[in-house]
């Protein structure tokens, strides 16, 4: 387990270094993710311990957003008197976006499945 933790941290570090050195517009951890994906593809499978580690952390991914969320909510006063139209805009456009994305994927999948039948 400890080796896997070191591996994950090492890949994140490698990602950060690559992002800085090559001035990539991609965050370091994302490059780390691509590296881990490439490693899994080369190896042809995920070690059990790594699956458990990923499951453990990702099933409580929500926790990890709490500190930033607390910080940002203290800036909520920035919304000032325009808070109502801003909130309405955010709410509506988020819901519209989710429906549009889901609808498109559903539509293409339906066509694809009909063709493969």
């Amino acid at each position: 387990m400890i080796g896997l933790i070191a591996l994950v941290l090492g890949l994140q570090l490698a990602g950060e270094l690559a992002a800085r050195l090559l001035q990539l517009p991609v965050p370091g951890p994302v490059i780390g993710m691509l590296l881990l994906f490439a490693a899994l593809a080369l190896r042809g499978g995920t070690p059990d311990g790594l699956s458990r580690l990923a499951n453990g952390l990702l099933s409580h991914l929500a926790l990890l957003f709490v500190p930033a969320g607390v910080g940002v909510i203290s800036y909520i006063a920035l919304l000032a008197e325009a808070w109502l139209p801003i909130t309405l805009t955010l709410l509506a456009s988020t819901l519209i976006g989710i429906v549009a994305t889901a609808f498109t994927l559903r539509l293409v999948e339906r066509v694809r499945q009909r063709e493969s039948d």
């Binding site: 994950v8 890949l11 994140q12 990602g15 991609v26 965050p27 951890p29 994302v30 780390g32 993710m33 881990l36 899994l40 593809a41 995920t46 699956s51 580690l53 990923a54 499951n55 952390l57 990702l58 099933s59 409580h60 991914l61 929500a62 926790l63 990890l64 957003f65 709490v66 500190p67 930033a68 969320g69 607390v70 910080g71 940002v72 909510i73 203290s74 800036y75 920035l78 919304l79 325009a82 139209p85 801003i86 805009t89 955010l90 709410l91 509506a92 456009s93 988020t94 519209i96 976006g97 989710i98 429906v99 549009a100 994305t101 889901a102 498109t104 994927l105 539509l107 293409v108 999948e109």
Partner: protein, 240 residues
């Protein structure tokens, strides 16, 4: 009483108090969410934030002091992002077959999220400065703040919009899609990730590993696409 106060003064300087508060508030919020059979408005991120903000206000604690402890949790976002490779790899065969649908849905979702914010915002009379900060809201926080900076918005305002978008998607996304008859974990997950990034991806992982993998993919792809599209759309409408 005096002793207790001294103890508090000592402890409140320690990161441990705020780390414990963060994990404890989330554990409680998660418990409530499960006990309420996943009642959407009891979203664990939202409830934990409200509990902690209340605690900080009652104890008159600065965010910087709080973050001294909470940073240990915050730091894990990096390793968690690296570990997203695991569910993505597990779903890779399915994802590959669906590449066309996923690409189209990504583009439609990204354009819709940006342009509907622009349209509705203009309709409701938001100022150009606010709009510039609002448009990148569907990207992850660091990307969205960078884009806002680039087009002349206010990055700290954008950070607020990003979090509010994530919480909105996490709360309303699943019930909304269920209402529209969507049962497929793939579709739900991808839509949540594209439009409402990390916090909604966390919600998708509570649903299932497959939904989480699709959400993670959507989040990553749309972070990149938003960085390209927002300056373009802002420029088309004379905002940039």
């Amino acid at each position: 009483m005096g002793e207790l106060f001294e103890m508090w003064v000592y402890l409140s300087e320690e990161p441990l108090v705020w780390l414990t508060l963060t994990v404890g508030a989330y554990a409680l919020a998660h418990r409530l969410f499960v006990l309420s059979r996943e009642f959407a408005l009891l979203n664990p991120v939202l409830v934990a934030i409200v509990l902690i903000v209340t605690a900080l206000a009652l104890t008159d604690t600065d965010y910087a002091v709080y973050f001294d402890g909470a940073q240990f949790v915050h730091f894990l976002l990096g390793p968690a992002t690296v570990l997203l490779a695991v569910p993505l790899y597990a779903q890779w065969q399915r994802l590959r077959q669906q590449w066309l649908g996923l690409s189209l849905a990504l583009v439609v979702g990204s354009v819709t999220a940006i342009s509907s914010a622009l349209g509705i915002g203009l309709l409701l009379g938001l100022e150009a400065d606010t709009l510039r900060s609002l448009l990148p809201k569907s990207a992850t926080t660091p990307i969205a703040m960078g884009v806002a900076q680039q087009i002349g918005g206010e990055p700290s305002l954008t950070a607020v919009f990003v979090i509010l978008t994530g919480i909105t998607g996490a709360i309303a996304g699943v019930p909304l899609l269920r209402l529209l008859g969507e049962r497929d974990a793939d579709v739900k997950g991808f839509a949540l990730g594209v439009v409402a990034h990390g916090i909604a991806t966390a919600r998708a992982f509570q649903h299932s590993e497959r939904a989480g993998a699709y959400a993670g993919l959507g989040m990553g792809l749309n972070a990149a696409l938003t960085a390209l599209l927002v300056p373009l759309i802002a420029w088309l409408f004379g905002l940039y």
